[in-house]
């Protein structure tokens, strides 16, 4: 069966596809920042809970207070790219989701359990005792499971040639184990998360006013997490790269000049971040990491396009123009972000007054 005959016809879009592309990239970067922070902190807290030394427990408690927000914002910022990807690639992602429906649907249940575990961990940190490890482990493992399902779907949607498996398995239990990039892709996200989680902790302590050994030690610890996981990340990145189909891999080696420039920028960004990491220069490291994340999101997008190139390109989507709803969204977004800024300012101002 010709896999391209299975690809559903796409719906029309109301504005030029570039808008959706822009919002997709923008919101996905935001999502990654929160997701990496959430998962990375979770893993660090889990390790800390297992080690259970006083120092580690201090780190874990620090994290426990922050985990619920980061989950909330990971979910919230995850909704937007999931929306925009459906606009551009709906006919691919709905299909792959149905093929793995059982796992895909289970995501929200798993997430709910992870979320409540994180809250229990947060609200009852001091009284839980050994239960702490259980709840943080539950939260982290379930977060990893959710990530693994996402990696499956994000690759399954790109490989229509595997969709014919539906005819022997229509019950929604297909995972994309045949995809060589599945595991490197998944671990790529996990390693990035640990790095960003460490970096975030360093930033948190950087913000603390009192200059102390404790603060310095925490910053150093965060930066160690960042640096070592980034070294691992380089290895995983190579694994990911070589597991890509050859014709896709070569676009980063001169096959496509934009892709090659991005790839090189990514290497430069990672290297710089790593250097700053080892030097414990928190802010420069954070900025280069942010830069690298943006580059990686763009690279990821190029990989997606290259996978789908034989079947589909977003520029072929038919536009039936209706720009006024876009204006509504942009205006609301500006107001919304301003209000978020305003509220955070109010909260922080009050905190200072409190602390006085």
């Amino acid at each position: 069966m010709d896999p391209s005959s299975l690809i559903p016809s796409p719906d029309t879009i109301p504005v030029h596809w570039g808008w959706f592309q822009f919002f997709l990239i923008l919101t996905f970067v935001l999502h990654l920042l929160f997701m990496n922070t959430m998962l990375g902190m979770g893993i660090i807290a889990l390790v800390a809970s297992v080690k259970s030394k006083l120092q580690d427990l201090q780190t874990a408690k620090e994290i426990s207070g922050k985990l619920p927000y980061t989950i909330a914002f990971t979910v919230n910022t995850g909704v937007a790219p999931l929306l925009f990807i459906q606009v551009l690639y709906g006919n691919f992602i709905y299909t792959s989701s149905v093929l793995m429906a059982v796992y895909w649907l289970s995501i929200f249940v798993i997430l709910l359990i992870a979320y409540y575990s994180a809250y229990i961990y947060s609200f009852k940190f001091d009284t839980l005792g050994s239960g702490r490890t259980f709840f943080i482990a539950l939260a982290v493992i379930f977060m990893l499971v959710v990530g693994f399902f996402f990696s499956n779907n994000m690759t399954l949607m790109l490989t229509p040639d595997r969709w014919t498996r539906y005819f022997t398995n229509p019950g929604g239990t297909i995972l994309n184990f045949f995809e060589p990039t599945l595991f490197p892709r998944f671990f790529h996200f996990v390693a990035a998360s640990i790095a960003v989680g460490g970096l975030f902790l360093a930033l948190v302590f950087k913000f603390k006013k009192k200059n102390s050994d404790y603060r310095r030690e925490k910053i150093a610890s965060g930066m160690r997490w960042f640096s070592y996981s980034t070294i691992a990340q380089i290895l995983i990145g190579v694994w990911f790269l070589i597991s890509l189909p050859r014709d896709i891999m070569v676009i980063f080696f001169g096959g496509n000049s934009f892709a090659t420039i991005l790839f090189l920028s990514g290497i430069v960004g990672t290297t710089l971040a790593l250097v700053f990491g080892f030097q414990e220069k928190v802010w420069p490291c954070a900025i280069t990491t942010l830069f690298t994340i943006i580059i990686m999101v763009l690279i990821r997008d190029l990989v997606r396009r290259a996978y789908l190139e034989p079947y589909f390109t977003v520029s072929t989507l038919k536009v039936v123009p209706q720009y006024s709803p876009l204006i509504l969204f942009v205006v609301t977004l500006v107001i919304g972000l301003s209000l978020v800024g305003y509220m955070l300012k109010l909260a922080l101002q009050n905190r200072r007054e409190d602390e006085k």
Partner: protein, 882 residues
């Protein structure tokens, strides 16, 4: 069709979405009203300078945060995942139409989260005014989330002008958007009170607890009044078709509407009870009970709204099974399997028909029906069907019962689906029906052409009297054949004898006691208000007796003779014989004797679709199961309670409601007459068929156990449709008359019927059943040989007098006297004995042709005649000899 279908089996039929959606929606509404509750309660705390109230507010905000942000937020994602898995096509339409609506709502949710986190974590740590500002911002953005999502949800029920313009704004500001927004806002405030109870009953300090519980009761009660008003506005804003569905047309919605209505007083009484001073130990369970009642309330509301848009996901745009309305015609023309993307079998063969049927099932049925699950399980719904019945059901689906989409696809695909359901899912195997050939001995009474002075002609006025033996449940027609006889005194100028003669009739042995075989006599008084002795029919005639003279017709008749097709030997015989004798009134001498069949059958094919077995001998009769199902279906579709009444011993006579000109039954005059109702309804399930549509219900099938079309017309290859026309036309002509008489229900049955023998509906002439029937003279113009085999459609007899069974020739001999009964025109071929219907012509002229045919004038005239006094062409030689 565009997307693969997730095979859910047990968990199908909406179980997933119902479970996830209702809990999410419940919490999501609370997230709106609860926001206002927090701010106003906090204010109350400041105003009353009560630390207890402030403590309560803070505690409640934690509960609120954990419930709304965590559970509400994640289940919201859950709904999204679920709909994209169950109806990816429709989800794609929603997303592509309202992407910026969703995106805007997402911004609101983001602001909500930030606000709520600050509100909760900084409670008591900020100055009052700033904290309240954060609280207000939370509420405003929570309400805005509702505002944006509400527009999109209501779009699915009432897309309004969007269907024409495809404009975002037309879709968003759709006809029910505002009433739904106000309704949901009020509901969210009510829920704030309901959830408020949950935390309030746990306040330790008694005064404060009582105070806060009363406060929550007010939250529940005041918006309640508005909620009811807005609910009314909402319903009124729904366009007529879905509103009719909500208000009762869809029998599945009715219980939910009842729940919705009943919970209103229950909840308000509950709230009032909470407000009075009763012990905390009672209030705690009551608070949780109210919470559950609220959930049921939410479920019933959402169910009504969801079901109201059936058979669509997006009204008028996407059917419940995700097939786009615009593709329907193409699918019917080319075939679903040819167009759908995710199918393996493009062509149906004998080998793959069940697999192909399964693919069709997945695309067209599975989105709403589970297989073996708790919701919309396909098994009990289709249990009764044979392949034919299932096929007919699919044929009529979505036409009368509009909450399901019509079947879309070719005829072959429909059969594949029917076979998959019946043979594949239910594992039924159907063996072909074997008909027993019978050749019962038929004695031809003697006639001496030289000596005999009289010719006695006898017949049953209807070629077949079908009646229903389902009396414990219902009756459509009692047993009762009309026997006719004319006595002719032979001579050069014969006379029709009407005086000084008694005409007697008596049924053959084995048929004398019909009450042994049917329960008609147990229910006759109930049905007809007459107490009848066993074996006596509605006109007082039994199975033997004297005929009465009908002077106008110059014939003797015995009407409503209650003969049944069941013999004492246990056999089914729809052609029992009657002996007819003409006796001299003065001396008892027999002038003439003959015999004639009284055709009567209970081979009504209801079971083809309504399930059940034949009641008698595997050949005929309405079984309990069949009879019950018919009432159950009637009850479901027409909102009656006939089955319940029947089971209480009060079965129903169809004509007690439906007028019927056959009986002169007035019924309820606003209802469709019985023929129009029954043909109009069933025509929707039996379209594009030939005579098999008629044979499905009537005992006319050439392979059935009665085969009542048994005259020369059958031998010449004509069938029911040659005179009565096809099912659609037949039904439409009846319905059109009813429509003209102002009966609204006619439209519902006519809506999906299109004429087959005329190009437009206007060309169909309305007609009254039993009065306006096919006229022999349509084909036999001036009694001549017809020019074609097909009669002209739309020409009906003008009244009863013109019916074949009522007509006479130019000298007063009734048509049937010489030509035989309707549907058994001489020469006939009876399946229970070749000459069983030819007795009269064989007796008097030794051939089975019409009496006097082939210039056999001597039968009555004793000499040859040269003038055609009976009717033109009566002296021609018989054409169709065999």
């Amino acid at each position: 069709m565009n997307y693969p279908v997730w095979e859910l089996y047990f968990a199908g039929g909406g179980l997933l979405i119902a479970t996830i959606a209702v809990v999410h929606v419940y919490v999501a509404h609370f997230a709106v009203g609860g926001g206002l509750f927090l701010v106003l309660t906090e204010l109350k705390g400041y105003r009353e300078d009560s630390q207890n109230i402030l403590d309560y507010t803070k505690k409640h905000s934690k509960f609120f945060l954990l419930l709304t942000i965590v559970f509400g937020g994640i289940t919201g994602v859950g709904i999204w995942l679920t709909i994209s898995l169950l109806s990816p096509g429709a989800t794609s339409t929603l997303i592509h139409t309202f992407v910026f609506g969703f995106a805007t709502e997402w911004v609101c949710f983001m602001v909500e989260i930030v606000a709520l986190f600050i509100y909760f974590y900084r409670f008591g740590k900020m100055d009052k005014k700033t904290h309240l500002t954060i609280g207000w911002l939370y509420f405003i953005f929570a309400w805005l989330s509702l505002f944006f999502i509400n527009g999109i949800i209501d779009f699915m029920l009432t897309p309004g002008n969007w269907l024409k313009t495809n404009s975002f704004w037309d879709g968003f500001f759709n006809p029910t958007m505002w009433p739904a927004l106000f309704f949901r806002t009020s509901l969210s405030l009510v829920l704030a009170g309901v959830f408020g109870f949950i935390t309030a009953v746990f306040i330790k300090e008694t005064m404060c607890r009582e105070n806060m519980v009363r406060y929550c009761a007010k939250w529940l009660l005041f918006p309640f009044i508005f909620m009811i008003l807005f609910a009314y506005w909402y319903v009124m804003a729904v366009p007529e078709a879905p509103r009719a569905m909500i208000l009762g047309r869809s029998p599945e919605i009715v219980p939910f509407v009842k729940i919705f209505a009943w919970i209103l007083p229950v909840m308000s009484i509950g709230a009032l009870l909470m407000a009075i001073r009763i012990p905390g130990s009672v209030k705690k369970p009551m608070a949780f009970a109210l919470l559950i009642i609220g959930l049921i309330y939410m479920f019933s509301f959402e169910y009504i709204r969801e079901a109201g848009r059936r058979p669509f996901l997006i009204y008028g745009h996407t059917y419940s099974n995700s097939i786009l309305v615009k593709n329907e015609e193409k699918i019917n023309e080319k075939g679903l399997l040819k167009i759908a993307k995710w199918v393996e079998y493009r062509d149906i063969t004998d080998e793959n028909i069940l697999d192909a049927g399964k693919e069709i099932f997945k695309i067209e049925c599975m989105s709403c029906h589970s297989t073996g699950g708790p919701l919309n399980d396909i098994f009990p719904l289709t249990k009764k069907y044979s392949v034919f019945g299932m096929d007919a059901q699919l044929n009529g689906m979505g036409k009368i019962i509009e909450y399901m989409p019509k079947f879309m696809g070719t005829r072959k695909e429909r059969l594949a689906l029917a076979r998959y359901i019946v043979e594949g899912l239910h594992g039924k195997k159907e063996s072909p029906v074997r008909i027993e050939e019978k050749d019962l001995y038929t004695e031809i009474p003697a006639f001496n052409e030289e000596k005999d002075e009289y010719v006695l002609l006898a017949w049953s006025s209807m070629g077949m009297h079908s009646f229903t033996d389902s009396d414990p449940y219902w009756s459509l027609m009692p047993p009762g054949n009309n026997l006719y006889a004319q006595l002719i005194r032979r001579g050069e100028t014969p006379e029709i004898v009407t005086e000084d003669v008694v005409i007697s009739y008596a049924v053959e042995k084995g048929f004398e006691k019909p009450s042994k075989h049917v329960k008609f006599w147990e229910y006759a008084e109930h049905f007809f208000g007459k107490r009848l002795p066993p074996g006596i029919g509605l006109s007082g005639n039994g199975l033997k007796g004297e005929m009465k003279l009908n002077e106008k017709q110059m014939a003797f008749t015995a009407d409503m003779v209650p003969v049944v097709p069941y013999s004492d030997d246990g056999s089914f015989n729809p052609y029992p014989l009657f002996t007819i004798e003409a006796i001299d009134k003065n001396n008892g001498k027999i002038f003439a004797r003959t015999s004639v069949v009284a055709p009567t059958s209970t081979e009504m094919g209801c079971r083809n679709c309504h399930g059940g077995k034949w009641r008698v001998n595997g050949q005929a009769g309405l079984s309990r199961e069949t009879s019950r199902d018919i009432l159950a279906v009637h009850d479901r579709i027409s909102k009656t309670n006939l089955l319940e009444l029947a089971e209480k011993g009060q079965p129903v006579l169809c004509q007690s409601c439906h007028p019927d000109p056959a009986f002169g039954a007035k019924g309820k005059p606003e209802l469709l007459n019985l023929s129009a109702a029954i043909h109009g309804f069933h025509a929707n399930y039996l379209t594009n068929r030939e005579d098999d549509a008629c044979n499905t219900c009537h005992p006319s099938s050439p392979t059935g156990n009665t085969q009542f079309l048994r005259g020369i017309h059958m031998e010449l290859g004509l069938d029911c449709t040659s005179c009565h026309w096809k099912m659609e036309d037949h039904a439409l002509s009846l319905l059109k008359a009813e429509k003209k008489a102002g009966k609204k229900e006619a439209d519902r049955l006519m809506k999906h019927l299109s004429p087959k023998s005329a190009s437009t509906m206007n060309q169909i002439n309305p007609r009254t059943p039993w009065f306006n029937e096919p006229d022999c003279m349509n084909c036999h113009v001036d009694f001549q040989e017809p020019e074609t085999d097909e009669s002209e459609f739309n020409l009906w007899t003008k009244g009863v007098e013109q019916l074949y069974r009522m007509r006479t020739d130019d000298v007063g001999i009734m048509c049937e006297a010489c030509h035989g009964s309707t549907h058994a025109i001489y020469p006939t071929k009876n399946p229970y004995g070749k000459d069983r219907d030819n007795i009269i012509p064989l007796q008097y002229q030794s051939n089975p042709y019409p009496v006097g045919a082939n210039k056999n004038c001597k039968v009555c005239h004793t000499i040859d005649m040269e003038e055609e006094v009976h009717h033109p062409n009566s002296l021609a030689m018989f054409r169709n000899t065999f």
